[in-house]
Symmetry: C2
Subunit: 112 residues, 2 copies
Amino acid sequence: MFDEICPSDLSPIRFGDKWTGMVIRCLEGGPRRFSELRVPLRGITAKVLTKSLRTMERDGLVTRRAADRQVVYELTLLGRSMLAPMDTACAWAREHWDELLDAREGVADHRG
Amino acid sequence: MFDEICPSDLSPIRFGDKWTGMVIRCLEGGPRRFSELRVPLRGITAKVLTKSLRTMERDGLVTRRAADRQVVYELTLLGRSMLAPMDTACAWAREHWDELLDAREGVADHRG
DNA sequence: GTAGCCGGTATCCGAACGGATACCACCTGC
DNA sequence: GCAGGTGGTATCCGTTCGGATACCGGCTAC
């Protein structure tokens, strides 16, 4: 999923920790439950997702709401405001995709 | 210096490693020597700066040129192109400075 | 009662990050 | 000959990051 949304592995631009950017993308469409977030974030362990979400909560990017025997996470206005710089970053990465790739492959050619 | 240029400590947006964004800002005005970079980057050790610069070189953001018994680092076009998303990120951070600060202080109030 | 989902926590681990310190070769100026 | 600057490298160190694994209480379905 995220291979298509955002070419984030190669880009040097990061939003928060490894997963924060992807979590924000997952919450872009509305509130999501803990286990709903784990699906698109293939392979993330509960511990790591919990830690990311707690940090994001601390930083005012998401809210955690435990209601009616389920937990939902939702973007705050601040969290939602990060979508703009994220779009800029993704546009930059897409625009310079080839150059980024060339730089890494050049290294691979020389040393790998 | 960098406290004024970019409120980067509080912002969750990062470009490369800890120093990459600041190095790019330092090189914005033209080529700089190794020791010239160390001045504004107060406290950076030679090892860490070397590592940052080598990574940036590998990623095609800077060039290293050893000429006439001195070494100069210069932004590539790719490196220079990062100034645009960096400006966006800085603008975002400035715009949401108070919210970012509140989130952290709220934590400090509760737990610190 | 027991199997399963939900939303985690606890513990351990290896790798990477960032820094401190010491050291180095090379050249310049005195 | 010796101090000082330049552009590093080598070694060690504590912290953080991200992940693997095991386990947990609460609830539901059968």
